[in-house]
């Protein structure tokens, strides 16, 4: 298939893997983090680790939107579906469907009778709102800069169509602050970031510049295809071996320095920065996005008075339940532990019965390990 097969060429992959082996020959161990879940998934899907020399260590970062969505968010969505069961339709992206809350998941709630509909885009949710005027349609708005502009667009569209029954339960996140938080983590010694492809098509390369400048960590924005990933790794190694640090773009066919100004304008029109809770990482200042006050009437937090539900905002790290059940999703998301370090992995926790979110999302590190046979 055009524009796909070219980036999955086995002969070029072998050449790139030789170049990678040459440039790091005799070098101490180098630790790189692929920030995005799609990178993680494709590294396993194509068996890329077998093409890399043993002194390169790849860590998966917090770039899987489902994995970093806190338990309390799922609990809130379930609570809305229960408390307003007669009037609410929950709409969600598919991979949030099985994510575990503290006692249940949307999948289980659906089996018990909750109205949960998987949609492919926010526009589907708008259509559902239009066709169900007597119901309140709540869209579960999670994700990074890649998806947030589409949610902003749905709100602008709902306003244009005078839809009064469409609401978003927001838990949107942005990438650069969490990368900074990881760099400040004493347990984690990173030599380079493989920056996310799709997020960077929206935000461009500028927001990563502080990482190269202040922390002296090289960054390469790389595409998701296997050759993109290998070339991205090679470009990182070039900088590391020359002791340089800058932000460069491997994925230049789509990602640009300035990003996508139209999408950014839309995002900034509807959302503003806020502090946000990340599963396993706690609250990171300025790492979230919330609806601006002029769009408050679309905000499910306000409309359903979620502050009255009696939920405590709890991070997985501090969540007593995590401590009891032994899930180390948090440490895995921070890159300080591997799924193999978890005593639940592959035993109590597997894709049929996930304990932590890293096992649920197809892009989660534990799911990738399990699915592709690292267990």
């Amino acid at each position: 298939m055009k524009y796909i097969d070219e980036f999955r060429n086995g002969a070029i992959a072998i050449k790139l893997s030789k170049k990678i082996a040459d440039i790091v020959a005799g070098h101490d161990e180098i630790t790189l983090m692929e920030v995005c879940g799609s990178h993680t998934m494709n590294i396993y899907r194509y068996g890329l680790k077998k093409l890399l020399p043993s002194n390169i260590r790849l860590l998966s970062g917090p770039g899987c939107p489902v994995c970093v969505t806190p338990t309390s968010y799922i609990d809130t969505a379930i609570a809305i579906s229960q408390k307003y069961s007669q009037e609410v339709l929950i709409t969600t992206f598919g991979d949030l469907f099985r994510a575990p809350g503290s006692t249940s998941s949307l999948e289980r709630e659906k089996a018990r009778g909750a109205s949960v509909i998987i949609v492919y885009s926010t526009l589907d949710a708008l259509e559902i709102a239009k066709n169900n005027a007597g119901k309140k349609v709540v869209f579960l708005g999670i994700g990074f800069e890649t998806t947030t502009p589409t949610i902003a667009a749905s709100i602008i569209e709902a306003e244009k169509r005078n839809l009064t029954n469409y609401f978003v339960l927001t838990s949107h996140k942005v990438m650069p602050p969490v990368m900074e938080a990881l760099l400040r983590d004493k347990e984690l010694n990173l030599d380079g970031f493989l920056c996310p492809a799709h997020v960077s098509t929206i935000i461009g390369s500028k927001p990563y510049e502080f990482i190269a400048r202040d922390f002296h960590i090289p960054c390469v924005i790389a595409g998701f295809e296997p050759l993109d990933i290998l070339q991205g790794i090679y470009m990182l190694l070039e900088q590391i071996t020359r002791k340089e640090s800058s932000v460069t773009i491997q994925y230049s066919r789509v990602a640009k320095y300035e990003g996508n100004p139209t999408a950014l304008a839309l995002l900034n029109r509807v959302f503003e920065p806020c502090d946000a809770e990340w599963r396993g990482l706690g609250i990171i200042p300025g790492s979230g996005l919330k609806l601006r006050s002029q769009y408050e009437r679309f905000d499910a937090h306000t409309v359903f008075r979620i502050s009255d539900f009696g939920f405590q905002i709890n991070s997985a790290i501090r969540n007593p339940q995590s401590a009891i059940n032994g899930c180390i999703c948090g440490d895995i998301l921070r890159g300080v532990k591997l799924p193999a370090d978890c005593k639940l992995f592959g035993k109590v926790c597997n894709p049929e019965h996930p304990v932590g979110a890293c096992m649920v999302s197809s892009e989660g590190t534990c799911a990738a390990w399990y699915k592709y046979g690292e267990n």
Binding site: S38, G47, L51, D95, E107, A111, T147, S362, G373
Partner: protein
């Protein structure tokens, strides 16, 4: 968080379905024919081997590019009989119809059943009709059972599979699942994906009549090629390695899978068969398939290997290797 309720994942044909079968049904119904867990049970009656199978159909939408629930219900049961080496003969048809269902639609479904049955030379000899209150079912659900005779000399079983045997797929994978999905979800793609729903009995008959040493066959329906291959190696003293590059996938299916984050290996097929055949006869079976209208895109995709035992591995297009597990739950479209 253990399941106390049936979820959709229990019906996906993947791991949870197997769990249900092995933990709930098998121990209670416990008998020799069932414990084989074949696509059809093989019954020894008065010196004859009768293949017997049943399947229910709850496809949504009822009409999709390339077929409808009626065609599917007839061909699905024909294929379950054919892959165990039986010649399909008689089918039953059960209808559970929602009150208010359009009679003209039912007529359309029945007409396509008639057409499919005629094409495969089987007769629908018994049936049942139930109508339930509006809202109790989604339009129309169906069940078909089928019987056929396994001719002398045909012995298909995973136990005759040997190291070095070849794996053949009779054509492109994922067409049915993606055709139904794109119709159901009104994805707005201008896709030309058509279900592969078809009766395999004619094609399989030619292969079995050719004197080739076919060891085992299965049609990769729910759970797709990956799940079927896992069912073959499960608890066996051998594994299977397949080559990603050799697996035929239509461009439309590939494109839609790329967009939604689906893996075609796990998407349902309704007119394909996986054949395990001796290395010596693999080319011959491949040639027979190539001459058949339902096997034009057939490919030899892999072989039976000694290690890793009980596992299916995939050689990726760029030269890596990964393990292919069974489907867990339905595939879900990813967020980005």
């Amino acid at each position: 968080m253990k399941n106390d309720k049936i979820t959709l994942a229990h019906g996906s044909g993947g791991k949870l379905t197997h769990e249900l079968v092995k933990q709930l049904f098998l121990p209670r119904f416990n008998n020799k024919a069932l414990s084989q867990l074949g696509d059809s049970a093989i019954l020894h009656i008065h010196g004859m081997r009768i293949a017997f199978t049943t399947d229910s159909y709850v496809v949504k939408p009822l009409f999709f590019p390339g077929g409808d629930i009626g065609k599917l219900a007839v061909n699905g049961t024909i294929n379950d009989l054919a892959v165990v080496g039986a010649e399909p003969m008689f089918l039953s048809a059960g209808f559970i119809i929602e009150e208010g269902f359009e009679l003209s639609l039912l007529e359309k479904v029945v007409n396509s059943m008639k057409e499919a049955a005629t094409l495969a030379s089987v007769e629908i000899v018994t049936g049942d009709t139930k109508v339930v209150e509006k809202g109790s079912v989604d339009g129309l659900y169906m069940n078909t059972c089928g019987i056929g005779i396994v001719n002398n000399g045909i012995n298909l079983s995973t136990s005759s599979i040997k190291i070095g045997d070849k794996i053949i797929i009779s054509g492109t994978i994922g067409d049915h699942g993606m055709a139904v999905l794109s119709e159901r979800e009104s994805l707005g793609f201008n896709s030309q994906i058509t279900s592969d729903c078809a009766p395999l009995s004619g094609t399989i008959k030619k292969i079995l009549a050719s004197g080739t040493h076919v060891k085992f066959m299965r049609d990769p329906t729910r759970g797709g090629l990956a799940t079927t291959l896992n069912e073959i190696v499960n608890t066996q003293e051998y594994g299977i390695v397949i080559d990603e590059q050799s697996i035929p996938v239509n461009d439309g299916v590939r494109a839609l899978c790329e967009i939604l984050g689906y893996d075609p290996l796990y998407i349902a097929n309704e007119g394909k068969v996986v054949i395990v055949v001796s290395a010596h006869d693999a080319d011959k079976v491949y040639e027979i398939l190539k001459e058949d209208s339902l096997g034009r895109d057939a490919a030899i995709i892999g072989e039976v290997v000694i290690e890793p035992k009980g596992k299916v591995c995939l050689k990726t297009v760029i030269g890596g290797t990964r393990v292919i597990d069974m489907l867990v739950g339905d595939q879900l479209p990813r967020i980005c």
